[in-house]
Symmetry: C2
Subunit: 473 residues, 2 copies
């Protein structure tokens, strides 16, 4: 087992690629780039997998241009890899068969905000922070917050979530409709602006999480939320990870509408303190936040406090000051980089299992023990209100033995979660790195996915070698 074995081979169509790059260069001039550094930067992202650069990077300005690019590539059977900000983690952006990285970062216009309907329409290159900055004066916000300042298009493509998902859902819950350029260049609008619909197959949800393998998302209609009247929260520290998890389980089962509830194990706290210059108590802790009316938030916090107290709460610190709170959550969002900082000479591999909430303590403690028993360096953080947690395994990727050990750990972790009724990926997606786990998780469903892929992308040009392998004629 080696890292490269996680990457599916995709045959290179040398002649087609040459013709496509020539044609795109003619048509897009400076917006078609072939420098190695740019190509490598468009493949590597934050993945731990070997870099497989595309042959060119093309920057599109509009849905029409995307359709043109797709038509050129389809005619020549050349792979297209849609690119947002490059913050994906599972080799989503690698080009195993070469081809064109279709960079959507210049399509970063916020097309419309409809405060009266609590929705907005954005281009795929808009990032979540850009959108929230834009919305600041409307009283509305967009809640989905993966760690990185990802693009909305990329977030839709990977079915992303983040710390707010406990209360506000994931990308599948907040996207009302999409514009998608299909693998033959047809432009399709899915969904609409009504809050619900039963009008035919749910193409919106099919595209969300398809990771660019079924088409290119070029416009997104998003639900927005009113900024809560009151926000309060704090840091609850415990002696053990099990106490943290049991507090979470009971809070969820009790139905407390907590907005965010995040776990950091002691090692993560240490890394976050160092990276973000904080002085959090270096024991397992929960960061919690409640959104609502003044009275509602007070009520939630009291009930949470009671549950925490029954689970050997050591200390609870309120963070009523908004600036202090923002600093804390910024630190949480930087936990990936903080974790990497524990061993700068190593490479971080982020896992992403998610289990039914009742199995959270079992899965986290078994994983924590596994890390200790195998002498791995792996801080744990998690969106534990959803049963989702990440181990950032820090590995020397020049040491085959270390790689093998890491791979074995990841495999045990993923199978552990799947056996508990969970998933190998709560929010990062499959890309190249998790393809081998899908048969265990979905069984015969993988063949159904392959049939859909074949029907919509018979030439296998849309981000080939990701999610599922298909044969083409």
């Amino acid at each position: 087992m080696s890292l490269a074995s996680m990457q599916l081979e995709v045959a290179r169509n040398e002649e087609g690629i040459r013709a496509a790059v020539t044609s795109l260069s003619e048509q897009f001039g400076e917006r078609c780039q072939t420098s190695l550094s740019l190509r490598e930067q468009h493949a590597h992202t934050t993945s731990w997998l070997p870099n497989q650069p595309p042959d060119a990077v093309v920057f599109a300005h509009s849905t029409e241009e995307v359709a043109e690019i797709v038509k050129i590539c389809a005619a020549l059977r050349v792979p297209i890899i849609p690119f947002g900000t490059g913050s994906s983690l599972e080799g989503h952006l690698n080009a195993p068969g070469g081809g064109i990285s279709l960079d959507l970062s210049l399509m970063n216009e916020i097309i419309a905000v409809h405060p009266e309907d609590l929705d907005c329409v954005v281009q795929p290159g808009v990032t979540r922070k850009q959108l929230n900055a834009y919305l600041r004066d409307t009283g509305l916000f967009f809640p989905i917050d993966p760690g990185a300042d990802a693009s909305i298009g990329g977030m839709a493509a990977t079915r992303a979530s983040g710390t707010n998902a406990v209360l506000y859902g994931t990308m599948k819950d907040v996207v009302l409709g999409l514009t998608v350029v299909m693998p033959d260049g047809t432009v399709v609008k899915t969904g609409g602006r009504a809050k619900k619909s039963s009008a035919g197959y749910d193409l919106t949800r099919l595209m969300i999480g398809s990771e660019g393998t079924l088409g290119v998302i070029t416009e997104i209609t998003l639900k927005l939320n009113g900024i809560p009247e009151a926000v309060s929260g704090g840091i609850a520290s415990f002696d053990s990870i099990a106490d943290c998890c049991n507090t979470v389980i009971e809070a969820v089962q009790y139905g407390i509408p907590v907005a965010r509830i995040e776990l950091l194990d002691a090692l993560s706290v240490k890394s976050v303190n160092a990276y973000s210059k904080l002085t959090l108590p270096e024991s397992p802790l929960l960061l919690v936040e409640f959104h609502g009316s003044d009275a509602g938030v007070r009520e939630q916090a009291e009930r949470f406090g009671e549950i925490a107290a029954e689970n050997s709460l050591k200390n609870f610190e309120w963070t009523a000051d908004p600036e202090e709170r923002n600093r804390l959550w910024a630190a949480r969002h930087d936990a990936y980089w903080a974790g990497c900082g524990l061993a700068p000479e190593r490479t971080g591999l982020s896992t992403d299992v998610c289990v039914p909430i009742s199995r959270l303590a079992d899965c986290v403690t078994a994983t924590h023990d596994d890390i200790a028993e195998n002498g791995l360096l792996g801080p744990i953080v998690g969106h534990v209100g959803d049963g989702n947690f990440h181990v950032l395994v820090l590995t020397d990727i020049n040491d085959p033995e270390a790689i093998a050990q890491t791979e074995a750990f990841v495999e045990r972790l993923n199978y552990r979660a799947i056996e508990m009724g969970g998933t190998c990926t709560g929010e990062h997606g499959v890309g190249q790195g998790k393809m081998k786990y899908l048969p265990k998780e979905h069984g015969a469903g993988v063949a159904v996915m392959a049939a859909i892929k074949r029907s919509l992308d018979p030439l296998n040009i849309m981000n080939p070698g990701k999610i599922i392998a298909i044969d083409t004629e």
Copy 2:
């Protein structure tokens, strides 16, 4: 234009059907029935479309039996029409090319309830009332409530919702996973029990709303909710429908987490009073309900009252007594039958548009005017918190002129909603009756749906002639 023109022709495979009925009779004995009355009852349901009975009705006991039936029908290229309780409204259960009605009502076992994870696993024939009766002592409930006591399988297949959807979502939001028998008899498990996942294409959401055209749902994992600590609500009456709608729009925009907010126009109130022996004030009214903690519910109700007062509220009556409240909501759920009672000699055709909330007042008042101008009999009720409302047009289906007038009204209504960014169906689904509106609503998306249908059901045996037309080889 005639009602029959809403039904797509599907060629009959006479020989195959004969062989399938013989084979299924041998295998299932008494559980394969061919009496005309039973066949007609399995086709007609509450639709206004002409009855197209299947050739036999087969009652399945298990996923394995469903797979066997599907395999027999696939081998002989015979249509299969999955049947739950028969409460669909758009000809979903008709058999335009004959074939087998696959009755799932005997698969009505509640397989597991996991209170610790707030979920349960049920067979498709379990009805929503059966599930809630079963859950009574657990402190949990299943919130989705279409008017009828529909089966959970049917509700998943049509992406149903109902009065509680404002707060709790629709079937797309509460289904965690499915077991589906695919058109070739393969058994596929989609989703899982984790609250979120990014592991591949969202087959769960693809199956939800596919109306039996992509496979037979034989098991459903559902999220459940805690019974709210406090429930309160009441009846707010207004002088005009516009005042009702504007109250709803402002309440939604303000972000009041109302659980239910239903509109009844004066004619609906009159019909409900007569049918359910109530004495509601016969003017446009809103039924509202708030779920939460004691303090939360009080806060919501106060804010709602302020908004209603600014919109010329005439009268507000609290219904604090649970029995009184249940009687009121039972009456709301019987509004379809109450409406039909306004003209027992006529047939009711229920429309189902849904628009962005800001267009609710525009769409409802334009529709109300259209009804008046054309002398139609059409009470209006609606899940207005979601922008969804129903006109029940009462028509003499023996009078071609009346039918033409009704058809023209429905067409105007559906196009009006679609032009406002809405949908021709918020929750009833497409079936036969709404197929002709899909191109206007989804454009090139219809071809994508057809490609998916062709790839998963190449023989076109799964509920053919519904949602989309496909060619087979």
